[in-house]
Structures are given as structure tokens and as C-alpha cells.
């Protein structure tokens, strides 16, 4: 396996070459929080959180209302029991030349996680999964979106979380 792509360097060079003057300042912290598991996974309730811009097709098969797309930097909820064939992603910021987003479980693994529940590996899934729009503002993510996800996780008595960025 070759080395991983160095995205920070690659995107900086790419956008400078496109005429952007100021490189994006990626979030960086010296310290990392850490919380130990409080109980075995087989007794734990799990929440799935993703930036994959997953949406629910309505009954007629069309996408969500266009006005939803006006929201930027907001957390939203996808019911965990949404049939998989009604889920899709509107995300465009992925490697469109190399792959596709036609299989929801390749970036929003809700069905695979429900299988882990059936197998007894985890106790349950929270009734709500969480979408977080790719915020352009780290401040907004920290002050608005992350607290909203935490609040909903606490309401759902979540023990552990799996996060999947696209």
C-alpha cells in the first residue's frame, strides 16, 4: 500500500494554483480528549454521525425540499429506521473521478450497524442518526452544531458514537 494522500499539502497547492490567495486553516489542537467506555459494547447504545449529506427521498422518490439546501453549518436528524432504499447522499465533495456514493453503507453504515445489533455486538442504535453539514466555519461547528448533536445524543441516552466524514 502506498503512502496516504497528504490532503493538507495537496489542497493547499491546488487552491493556490487556482488563484486563491489564502490557504485554508485546518483545525489543529495539541490536546485530545479521551473518555473510556463505561460499559461493554453489548450493553451500549450507538449513534451514527456523518457529514455525508445524507437525505431522505420522499415517497415519490424525489429529493428533499430545495429549501433544506439553504442550511449551511447545521445539524439535522435522520431516523435510524428509515428504509435504506430511501437514503441517498447529495454530497459532491468526494472523489467523483474514482468512486460514487450509490451505496449508502459505504459512507453512512446504518444497515451494517443494525446488523451488529442483531448479532449482539452492540446493544442498540439510537433512534436518530445525525447529519452535520460541512460547515465552512469551525467556530459554528463548535458553538452550534456539536452542542446540538450532543444534546440529541443525551436525549437518546447514547453511550458511544461512530463518526463518518465523506
Amino acid at each position: 500500500m502506498g503512502d496516504p494522500v497528504k490532503y493538507i499539502n495537496r489542497t493547499r497547492d491546488y487552491y493556490l494554483s487556482q488563484g486563491y490567495k489564502k490557504p485554508y486553516q485546518w483545525a489543529h489542537f495539541e490536546d485530545i480528549p479521551f473518555t473510556r467506555l463505561r460499559k461493554p459494547l453489548s450493553e451500549s447504545r450507538l449513534a451514527l454521525v456523518s457529514t455525508s449529506d445524507v437525505a431522505v427521498r420522499n415517497a415519490s422518490g424525489a429529493g428533499r425540499d430545495k429549501s433544506d439546501e439553504m442550511l449551511i453549518g447545521n445539524a439535522y436528524v435522520i431516523p435510524t429506521n428509515t428504509p435504506e432504499d430511501r437514503l441517498f447522499s447529495r454530497q459532491e465533495h468526494f472523489d467523483q473521478h474514482a468512486t460514487h456514493l450509490e451505496d449508502v453503507n459505504s459512507y453512512f453504515p446504518v444497515t451494517r450497524l443494525l446488523e451488529k445489533v442483531e448479532q449482539g455486538r452492540i446493544n442498540s442504535m439510537a433512534p436518530r442518526c445525525h447529519g452535520v453539514y460541512t460547515a465552512y466555519s469551525q467556530k459554528k461547528t463548535l458553538e452550534s452544531d456539536a452542542p446540538e448533536v450532543l444534546k440529541r445524543c443525551r436525549e437518546d441516552e447514547v453511550d458511544i458514537a461512530v463518526l463518518t466524514p465523506v
Binding site: 489542537f29 456514493l101 453503507n105
Partner: protein, 122 residues
């Protein structure tokens, strides 16, 4: 996304992230990371490969159990089935990241964000 993981973790919910952009996630710093060396878009496994997707999730669940310090990364033992050419091409002049509608949508989103920011600043 890394910021959300850090926030949940700091508030008592153990987290594990499954991601493809290793350097960005590790530069931010998250408690636990399963790194999958695949193109942006499929961190949880090759599309429609259910066995692989299940195994990658098992790596994530196992990491929740085994990690005893912050900043622990495990690498999923998989190769992208169509080779590694994508690594050379992503974000290059030769292969623009966003084209056509996707580029226009990105510009429009940036403009909406700029307007929202102006409103909240004023």
C-alpha cells in the same frame, strides 16, 4: 467532523471516526481513528462489499474497546480494488476536484455562507 468527535468525547461520549483523509483528521486530533486508504467518499468500505464494510465497522468497535489513550489510529488492511492511481490525481490540475454543476453549487454555497456571516456579524 473531527471537531464534533472531540466535542462528544470531551462531554463523556466515547467516539471512533472512520475516515480516508488521515492527515487532516490527525492534524486536528481525534480520540480514535480507523484510517481507510480509499478515495474520499467511501470511508466505510468499497460500495456494495458488505463483508468489507462489516469488517471495517468491527475495527471501529474493537478500537472503542482497546484504545487506552487519545489519538489512537488503526489502519484498515484493504487496498482500493482499482489500484492507487487516484492518489496521484486527486486535487491536481490534470483532474479538477469539482467540475460543472458541482463547482457551481460549491460557489453558491460559499456565497450563501458569506451572506449568512455578514448577517450574523451585523
Amino acid at each position: 467532523m473531527s471537531l464534533v468527535a472531540r466535542y462528544l468525547e470531551a462531554n463523556g461520549i466515547p467516539t471512533v471516526m472512520i475516515a480516508t483523509a488521515r492527515d487532516i483528521v490527525e492534524y486536528c486530533g481525534v480520540p480514535r481513528l480507523v484510517f481507510v486508504d480509499f478515495p474520499l467518499g467511501n470511508p466505510c468500505g468499497v460500495p456494495f462489499n458488505q463483508d468489507m464494510q462489516s469488517s471495517i465497522l468491527e475495527l471501529a468497535l474493537g478500537l472503542l474497546e482497546s484504545a487506552d489513550e487519545a489519538g489512537t489510529t488503526v489502519t484498515a488492511p484493504y487496498h482500493w480494488p482499482e489500484g492507487e492511481k487516484w492518489k496521484e490525481l486527486i486535487f491536481t490540475q490534470e483532474q479538477p476536484f469539482l467540475e460543472g454543476d458541482a463547482y457551481d453549487n460549491w460557489m453558491a454555497a460559499k456565497e450563501r455562507y458569506r451572506r449568512q456571516k455578514q448577517q450574523s456579524d451585523s
